[in-house]
């Protein structure tokens, strides 16, 4: 930047660089927020013609909330929402328990076979669920769990990524406090629960947020495992809703999307500081 502007006065050059910077940042922000605003506005439109009027207009007189009612008439929307909440919450809670305990064992305990087990964990990082989805479906089917929420919960509980992330963090904690606790007679479990966990809030929040986001958004597993509409999660539910209308009632689809996004937006804004810090630090922690 500076080389290109040397011929101008340096002050003018700096001003130009600043204007350009904000132009790029602003366009990027607009490109990301405008589609959401457009879909929210579409959810309030009375007709498809209005939804697709270009350039988009905002005429308060023609706005309607009827589309939201139509969503719940067409699909069991609140059921989808509840199912998504159950799956994401249970997977996240279970994953935090299994990952933190396993990570503690790998970071602090001495036992036979540790190297082999850890190598298995790291190796399984390379085998994503997309590869094993077929036998996973057969396992669930043999267990009689297909078409239940268990089929969406159980495969998510073990997380090699989560164990690795927390192990890295635990390894970085000072050992002094633990030694002191041991001298006071604390067992491994008490050391873990009273010393390690309280020092690991941010790392655990990172894993929790990444895990919840992933399972909240997943489309593949529910599509494979669930056949009853009533047991579907929100991502599939939206596709089902969109599939009901090939033409016409686009406002209803927009309303369905809006109903799926607004709660996420509220949580996102409420927990923004945590979410931003957690995601930002996921790179630093590995």
């Amino acid at each position: 930047m500076s080389t290109a502007t040397t011929s101008m006065s340096p002050r003018l050059g700096r001003l130009a660089a600043r204007v350009l910077t904000f132009l790029v940042l602003g366009i990027a922000a607009l490109a990301i927020t405008a589609p959401f605003l457009w879909i929210f506005r579409g959810a309030l439109s009375g007709s498809d013609a209005e939804l697709y009027r270009l350039p988009p207009t905002f005429d308060a007189g023609t706005l309607t909330v009827r589309n939201f009612g139509r969503v719940t008439e067409q699909v069991p929307y609140f059921r989808f929402f509840l199912n998504s909440i159950i799956v994401s919450t249970v997977v996240t809670a279970a994953q935090l328990i299994t990952c933190s305990t396993a990570a503690y064992a790998f970071a602090r305990l001495r036992f036979r076979g540790k190297g082999v087990l850890f190598a298995l964990v790291i190796g399984s990082l390379m085998i994503p669920i997309q590869v094993t989805i077929v036998p996973l479906f057969l396992v669930m089917s043999k267990l009689g769990l297909t078409n239940t929420l268990w089929a969406l919960i159980l495969p998510g509980i073990f997380s090699a990524f989560g164990i690795f992330l927390l192990r890295q963090h635990f390894l970085g904690l000072p050992r002094g406090l633990e030694e002191a606790a041991k001298i006071d007679g604390a067992g491994q479990f008490r050391t873990f629960a009273r010393i390690i966990l309280p020092l690991s809030g941010p790392s655990i929040a990172t894993l929790g947020i990444l895990c919840f986001t992933y399972w909240w958004n997943d489309l593949l597993l529910p599509l494979v495992m669930i056949s009853d509409t009533d047991r579907q999660t929100l991502p599939v539910g939206l596709v089902l809703l969109a599939g009901r209308f090939s033409t016409g009632s686009l406002g209803t689809i927009a309303a369905g999307i809006t109903m799926a996004i607004v709660p996420v937006l509220v949580v996102f804004l409420a927990a923004q500081r945590y979410i931003v810090q957690s995601i930002a630090s996921s790179g630093l922690k590995l």
Binding site: A29, Y52, V131
Partner: protein, 314 residues
């Protein structure tokens, strides 16, 4: 539920058997380790290891959902070689994955560096939050929104392009632009993640280094390439790994936007596997495809670690 019951015995033993004075430290923590690892071991065995072995076994069978299948030796692998579509699907998967990777790594870095400019805190916060928000929205909602926006005749994108006299583009219905649509939509969703990781990387670079360079008279351009970029290499490497792995596994975007079409132009390997398994119920063949995919992921990971040794400065 199972976790607490498996954890307790080990804990109980300890607190009962060594009260007051500190006992000499035991040589191993086998019992405790078992208790701590049991939940992970069980879920790993049933939902990771068994299905992984299952993929290998299934790939030697002709298996549909109705019967338990017959052993067919290497037939499925023979079919892989003669499957004309498979190579095309891998081609489009690779094309889209590399483009998404490039957008995330390059555009993400640009935006993250620009965000370092002096500006009011609320404005920086607004930029960050708006870039990140699509990351927490489900891919199917994102793809449905873009299905509206990219509509050939009525979509906002073609309208805006029309303002600058670009002819209408058939974003979702032409084999040239369908993969571009998937690239745009997935990058749009994920770039906020990359930007945030970059910001954290940039903040971990000590200010003194850049200040020293300013004192030495280095311009912004030199400072970026001589100081920021090399010190950012671990971050770049992390993002390359994460984005490669994620973008090769794309499923929702093409599924919702284009159904993989037209032809196989925007089909990803996961979508192809899904169709063979749960569209044709050809579970054996789908497993053989899964093995090729796993091998590719292993090779990619190996290549990345080899590269990381060459050009990151830890």
């Amino acid at each position: 539920m199972t976790t607490s019951s498996t954890l307790r015995p080990g804990v109980g033993d300890r607190s009962v058997t060594d009260p007051g004075p500190p006992a000499p430290r035991p040589r191993g923590d086998g019992a405790a380790a078992l208790a701590f690892l049991t939940p992970s071991i069980i879920t790993f065995l049933v939902f990771v290891l068994a299905p992984t072995v299952g993929v290998l076994v299934l790939s030697f069978y002709n298996w549909n959902l109705l019967s338990d299948g017959t052993f067919v030796g290497l037939d499925n692998f023979d079919r892989l070689i003669h499957d004309g579509r498979l190579l095309g699907v891998y081609g489009s998967t690779t094309y889209m994955a590399l483009a998404i990777l490039a957008v995330n790594v390059v555009l993400g870095l640009l935006l993250a560096v620009l965000l370092e400019t002096r500006m009011p805190r609320w404005l920086r916060g607004f930029f960050r939050l708006s870039y990140l928000f699509p990351f927490v929205v489900s891919a199917s909602a994102v793809a449905l929104i873009w299905r509206f926006l990219l509509n050939k005749d009525l979509g906002l994108v073609n309208y805006l392009l029309g303002l600058v006299h670009v002819d209408r583009i058939d974003w979702l219905g032409s084999s040239a632009f369908a993969p571009v649509s998937v690239i745009i939509v997935n990058s749009w969703k994920t770039i906020g993640f990359s930007i945030l990781v970059y910001i954290a990387g940039l903040q971990s670079i000590p200010d003194q280094l850049r200040e020293a360079a300013i004192v030495d008279g280095a311009g912004a351009w030199t400072r970026f390439w001589r100081i920021t970029f090399p010190l950012l290499s671990p971050t770049i490497f992390f993002l390359v790994v994460i984005n490669t792995i994620n973008s090769f596994q794309i499923f929702a975007e093409p599924r919702v936007l284009t159904q993989g079409g037209p032809g196989d132009s925007s089909r990803t390997i996961v979508e192809y596997l899904y169709d063979r398994a749960f569209g044709d119920f050809d579970l054996g063949y789908a497993s053989a495809i899964g093995i090729t995919f796993a091998l590719i992921l292993v090779v990619l990971t190996a290549i990345q670690f080899w590269f990381s040794r060459r050009w990151t400065f830890y």
